[in-house]
């Protein structure tokens, strides 16, 4: 077992555990903290896939900002243990759980069925994936995807304004 393989299994198990804890734990703050943990795990997985820059951004954006926001909001609301964590409908709950299981089976099944397709075409150009991909990412982001990038900038501006407006309102649709 080489180091890469060990790394993958180690990270995969940690990440998956973090994800499951997020969903299953009854205290939302633990949920948020384990979500942060999962984010860090995913970031590490990015590193194992040579996507260094994305790993950093993942940490900054998800772990450093998004999840911190969650934690802050939860702490501000001071929610502790929840009495009703999960949905209580017997039929709909069963349907939902079954749906999730079915979906998991379907995805895993489809991945496994098509895995040989990937392994056949797996002769990926090593030049691209070999070293650090930051420069390539920057080049493609500012050339091929420049329009999307600009659009996202506008979106962020709108969201910033909208979030401020929403948070300042005293509730109701006609804030003073």
């Amino acid at each position: 077992m080489s180091a890469d393989v060990f790394l993958f299994w180690f990270l995969a198990i940690l990440t998956l555990a973090g994800g499951l804890t997020t969903v299953l734990v009854t205290n939302p703050i633990y949920s948020a903290l384990s979500l942060a943990f999962t984010m860090i795990g995913v970031s590490a997985l990015f590193v194992s896939l040579n996507a260094y820059f994305l790993a950093g951004v993942q940490l900054i954006v998800y772990a450093g900002a998004v999840t911190v926001l969650f934690v802050m909001v939860l702490m501000m609301f001071d929610l502790k243990h929840e009495l009703i964590t999960f949905t209580r409908g017997k039929i709909s709950g069963l349907v939902k759980a079954g749906l999730v299981a079915l979906f998991a089976g379907l995805i895993v099944g489809s991945v496994l069925i098509t895995s040989d397709v990937f392994s056949k075409s797996g002769g990926a150009p090593e030049a691209v994936i070999g070293g650090d991909t930051t420069k390539a990412l920057g080049t493609i982001l500012f050339s091929k995807y420049i329009f999307g990038f600009e659009a996202l900038g506008v979106l962020l501006l709108i969201v910033a304004i909208g979030a401020v407006a929403l948070a300042r309102s005293k509730g109701g649709t006609h804030a003073k």
Binding site: I29, L33, A36, I40, S43, Y52, F53, A55, G56, V57, Q58, L59, I60, A63, G64, A65, V68, L69, V71, M72, M75, M76, D78, D132, T134
Partner: protein, 373 residues
Amino acid sequence: MGHDIFEISINAIKLIVVFLLIVQAVPVLVWLERRGSAFIQNRLGPNRIGPFGLLQLAADAVKFFFKEEFVPANAVKLLYYAAPVIALIPATLAFAAIPLGQPVQWNEYLFRLQGYEINVGIVFVLAVSSLAPYSILIAGWGSGNKYALMGALRASAQVISYELALGLSIVGMILIYGTFNLTEMIQAQQAPLSYSLLGFTLPLNFLPAWGIFYQPLGAIIFFAASFAESNRLPFDLAEGEAELVAGFHIEYGGFKMLLFFIGEYGHMIVASALMVLFYFGGYAIPGISLADLNQWTADHTASANAASLLAGLLTFVCFFIKLSIFLWIFIQVRWTLPRFRYDQLMDLGWKTMLPWALFNTVLTATFVYLAHL
């Protein structure tokens, strides 16, 4: 990364050494701060134990170790204990990525005087330090104390706010030097200073091409924001004794308190180190370029290995001298400036520093574009 067992073990040792470095720097800094603040305030400070009161550190350590261990009744035990440990992580991880001296070439091995070399070092340092709010939040909430929670919320809001200005102020540097790599950034600062625009060049050979000369505004914003990032005065609203008693570590004592201390000073060290790195030429000795230095050491030592080792040592010392200057500035500021009000703090962050940082970025981009025309 390591290719044989020797290099791997050296790397492992390096990590431990870096960790110990940051941990051991803290007592020294505490002593420095206490003595320094005393002199600033026209007092004497701790001077009874040992020469210049240096053994006070040991006494403090003993006191920390033997303090009573207690958990508040309302605390969430797991989080309460986890928080101080988590507090250590960001600072030490970030510090490990900072090159402390010129790499040493020992036969076929290249030993970098840093925990690990990462190609996107700047992103890594930012990313890791963005995890800092967690320990604060966990501590604040886990303590089960109103003041602690308020302090934690304040602190984390502050850290998130200033992260933006901090990150944006570095963008100018990245644009100018065209790299995320910290070592490359230091290399790029070796050349003599020259401003070029639209094909015209203004050479200022007597100065090194340090970031401070290209990015004065960015440097100021970065420096100010890093104060806020490390929750130091004048931005230590999280502690704000008058309002919140002691902020998020109100319920902590003894060794756990010490860990928080280490975290905070670690932040300070990282901030100073980044300041040195980005704007003051890193480990390079002022006035002597790295090439000259290597030439000089090669002339004065017998073997190439020894020359490399000597150069590494000299740059290391130089780096630490620069670092100490900035650490002293941190301490000096803490004991001279009063504290902001919270709304002033937020106003400063969002309405002053962020726009200026944005302006700096745009300006830099324009100039870089014009310079390359």
